[in-house]
Amino acid sequence: MIEVNNLVKEFDGFRALDGTDMHVKKGAIYGLVGPNGAGKSTLIRHLTGIYRQNEGTVKIAGEDVYENPHIKEKFAFIPDDIFYFMQADVMEMKRFYQGMYPKFDDKMFYRLMEYFPTINPKKSIRSLSKGMQKQVAFWLAICTRPELLILDEPVDGLDPVMRRQIWSIVMADVAERDTTVLVSSHNLRELEDVCDHVGIMHKGKVIIERSLSELQGSVCKIQVAFQAEMPKLPENFDVLHMSNTGRVYTLIVKGNPTEAKEQLEKMHPMLIDLLPLTLEEIFIYELGGVDYEVKDILF
């Protein structure tokens, strides 16, 4: 659905995107993560046809996005910083979106109204809270019946209940229409629940791009205890991190979790347990060797 190759963007000599590559399959929910200044928003502005690249290609459904209204009709974009016309209320914005997007679903708009009971459609949107403004953005975006939803920090400012509700609306759309979702965030905990693919940006490049299951299957956490000291581990045993509390060792091991467990069992441990890794932990240990601001991803 999305194909970005060797994308370069410079701002007054500063290279914000430095040969970025990104590939998102149709129907995927792709989480784009990275610290502030990594280039997530810049990449998204290229995907939405706002910025023109210095080099490289940005394609959606096989076509260049820039100045291509035919492709732009297929996606809806919810930026971090949402803009509404001055004095415009929800109904007026609805009419505007209806005029701009040929597939705008009027019935759906009224159907979704019940999901946003706190929003008065006749009230100026700019007078609503930031969270409410975001809800309006989702409301309108879903109604355009997009094949691709591009979301930049989508649930910032929403309360937990509304977050859950928004995501359930998005997920329902994905399930019903096989919508592709690209969501950018620096909050991994949020993404872990919804994404099936993840791309990590760092200094203008997507340094890792994998499915979540692939990621989770390639790193594991093993707790193990031996009678005596920790025996020498095999040569091919790729330990990313090891810590201990008394005789109990916690190992973060790169590779197939089952194979790793089997190898350790051969050393006759007193105790061995395979524990699930969160996305946060995977990133911490996976990217530990890179000059990477892990804290910015996690917190």
């Binding site: 701002f11 007054d12 502005r45 939405t48 046809g49 706002i50 910025y51 023109r52 100045e67 209204p69 035919h70 492709i71 732009k72 009709e73 974009f77 930026p79 910083d81 949402i82 803009f83 016309f85 001055m86 004095q87 415009a88 007026e92 009419r95 505007f96 209806q98 005029g99 701009m100 997007y101 040929p102």
Partner: protein, 639 residues
């Protein structure tokens, strides 16, 4: 379903229409107030007027319409509305949130540009059309007949609005800040004439003979608002029995600007197409404009503040003036260079090595230009137009002398050349002495341009006696009877008819005003006496007193003046108007009063006054010095 090749987006147009309604409502209100309301309001006065002939009434009504139209097509008002309209419809470009949202929509930049451009233009044209239409209906209802002016006015308003609006849109494409549009639009509208005015003043400070006067030129067209305000006018002549309307002038100017607007639209669109949305919020949105902005601001700031700063100090001597001017200009230039860069970078950290080198280059180039001006590399000081290119020439010391006569032009050029050749001598003399005389020389060239020079020449008695000196030659021209008669009675004084006159004055310490009326016959006698004194050279001393700053002839000049009413059927061609060309347009006044001073040397006038019984003897006349001393004596006695 929208077409892929669509150029117009109805949704965006509707959005503009509904969101910016206060703008078109204000424009509409203004147009309705100016045309229908004002015309109707003016028509009410005729209900109370009686005794007017049909012709007079028609003329007055025509004046009403053309007065309303003159406000309706006022370039300044249309400029203001146009800028506001352009700001409104393209306002989304100047904020990253709105710019990003709009450009993520399924619409091309071409569609956005055309739709927004047309929306803004219609904000102006539709209210103007409504104003015209209702104005026409109201005029018809109120019995006005000259509605052709309304149609003309509407076409003028459309043309002017079209240009100014397109101009504002064009300017708007270069900036990333909304409120920079009106500022830039205003500055660029006056940039050429403004900078020319400043530069001419700077050059005048360091160039021999160049005056700081602003002369209109064909290039003034580069300052549209200034140019249009001068050229697009409604003409009402109030001479005669009733006002005569001569229509609206400047159609060719409006058509010319409208054609320029067509080119500007294309450029504005191309710039919009290439504009990067990340520049929203930047003062300059197009990167290659940055250096022009820096250098332009430095040049204008340096010239303006350098010229002002150096003129504060009363420095004498050409070299000292140049050093002061060059220093202040270059320092201010550098200051403005970095100030401009601060605006571009939105910060104070602009003193980088790269910018220092660039600023150094600017200062060096500017310094070379100043040196060039000072050393006359451009030939501005020694410029003498070819005689065959001169339409008329004038020299003005006490009063303007000149015309189209080739011999006279050659004489003026000869004096001019002599003054140019004496530059060093005259400059050093003027720096150290007070007895100098100002000489203005003006050439009207056949190509419509004007060459004007102002010199300070030594005015000593020795030079006066030397017929070969510049001052001697100027004095000879100024004391020519024919030249003085032209100055007093007009260039065509030989066609005039003398009517009546009077002589008046005050009597010494009593400060008593007296007046003696003269019949036509006696006035003619006095005029002949005046001419006889002129031809006898009796006026030479008086005329020379007006030429030099270091001489004082008040002790022989009388307080009394002779006032002669005269007329000329073809119109009096005032000599000063010929010289300055900035006063009354043709046709000239047909009658006037000449006020003639005279002194103790004017024997013919004095004897005629005695003969006519105005005075008994010369002793009855009081000189300026006598009157002043009497007045001082009175004051002393009082205290």
């Amino acid at each position: 379903m929208k077409s892929k090749t669509s150029c117009f987006n109805k949704t965006i147009f509707n959005k503009n229409f509904t969101h910016f309604w206060p703008i078109w409502l204000i424009v509409m209100g203004w147009n309705l107030f100016i045309l229908p309301f004002m015309i109707y309001n003016n028509s009410l006065q005729y209900k109370m007027m009686t005794g007017l002939t049909e012709k007079e009434l028609a003329a007055m009504k025509e004046t009403d319409i053309i007065s309303a139209v003159s406000v309706y097509i006022s370039p300044a008002v249309l400029f203001a509305f146009s800028v506001i309209a352009a700001m409104a419809v393209f306002s989304y470009l100047y904020n990253s949130r709105s710019a990003n949202t709009i450009h993520a929509l399924p619409v091309t930049r071409k569609e956005l540009f055309i739709t927004n451009y047309l929306s803004g233009l219609l904000f102006l044209l539709v209210p103007e059309f409504v104003g015209f239409l209702t104005g026409t209906l109201v005029s018809a209802g109120c019995g006005y007949t000259s509605m052709n002016y309304l149609l003309q006015g509407f076409l003028f308003a459309c043309g002017i609005s079209f240009f100014f609006y397109t101009f504002a849109v064009f300017i708007g494409m270069f900036t990333g800040q909304l409120f920079a549009i009106p500022v830039f639009a205003l500055i660029i509208n006056f940039l050429y004439v403004g900078y020319k005015f400043i530069f001419v003043n700077l050059v005048a400070q360091i160039s021999y003979g160049l005056s700081g006067d602003y002369n209109n030129s064909a290039l003034d067209v580069l300052s549209p608002l200034f140019y249009m305000s001068r050229k697009v006018t409604t003409n009402i002549d109030y001479q005669g029995e009733y006002p005569v309307c001569n229509g609206i002038s400047g159609a060719n100017v409006v058509i010319g600007y409208a054609l320029c607007a067509v080119v500007l639209i294309v450029f504005a669109y191309l710039i919009y197409k290439s504009r990067n949305m990340e520049t929203a919020g930047n003062l300059i949105a197009i990167s290659w404009i940055g250096p022009f902005f820096r250098w332009g601001v430095a040049l204008c700031g340096g010239t303006l503040f350098g010229a002002i700063f150096s003129s504060i100090f009363n420095i004498r001597g050409a070299t000292q003036v140049f050093i002061m001017l060059a220093l202040s200009t270059l320092i201010f230039g550098a200051v403005f260079f970095f100030a401009a860069q601060m605006f571009l970078e939105k910060g104070f950290r602009v003193f980088t090595k790269k910018r220092m080198i660039e600023c150094g280059a600017f200062v060096a180039v500017f310094f070379v230009v100043l040196i060039g001006i000072e050393c006359n590399w451009f030939g501005q000081e020694s410029k003498l137009p070819d005689t065959d290119k001169i339409e008329s020439a004038y020299i003005n010391c006490a009063y303007p002398v000149g015309g189209k006569d080739t011999q006279l032009i050659e004489e003026i050029k000869d004096i001019h050349k002599q003054i140019i050749d004496s530059k060093k001598k005259f400059e050093s003399y003027a720096a150290a002495n007070e007895d100098v005389s100002w000489v203005n020389i003006k050439y009207y060239l056949k190509d419509g341009s004007v060459l004007r020079r102002t010199y300070t020449i030594p005015a000593t008695d020795d030079m006066l006696k030397d017929p070969e000196s510049a001052y001697g030659k100027v004095a000879e021209m100024m004391s020519d009877p024919d030249a003085y008669l032209k100055n007093v009675f007009g260039f065509n004084y030989d066609q005039m008819t003398i009517d009546e006159g009077y002589i008046d004055g005050t009597r010494g310490s009593t400060d008593e005003y007296w007046r003696y009326d003269l019949s036509k016959e006696n006035t003619e006698k006095l005029y002949q006496a005046f001419v006889a004194d002129l031809k006898a050279g009796n006026y030479k001393e008086y005329l020379l007193s007006n030429m030099s700053t270091g001489t004082d002839y008040q002790d022989i000049t009388y307080v009394s003046t002779i006032n002669i009413d005269y007329s000329c059927i073809k119109g009096i061609i005032n000599m000063y108007n010929l010289y300055s060309r900035d006063s009354y347009p043709e046709p000239y006044n047909t009658d006037s009063t000449a006020c003639i001073s005279f002194d103790k040397n004017c024997k013919n006038i004095i004897s005629t006054l005695i003969e006519l019984g105005v005075i008994e003897s010369e002793d009855d006349l009081v000189t300026v010095t006598e009157q002043n001393s009497d007045a001082e004596g009175t004051v002393d006695a009082d205290y």
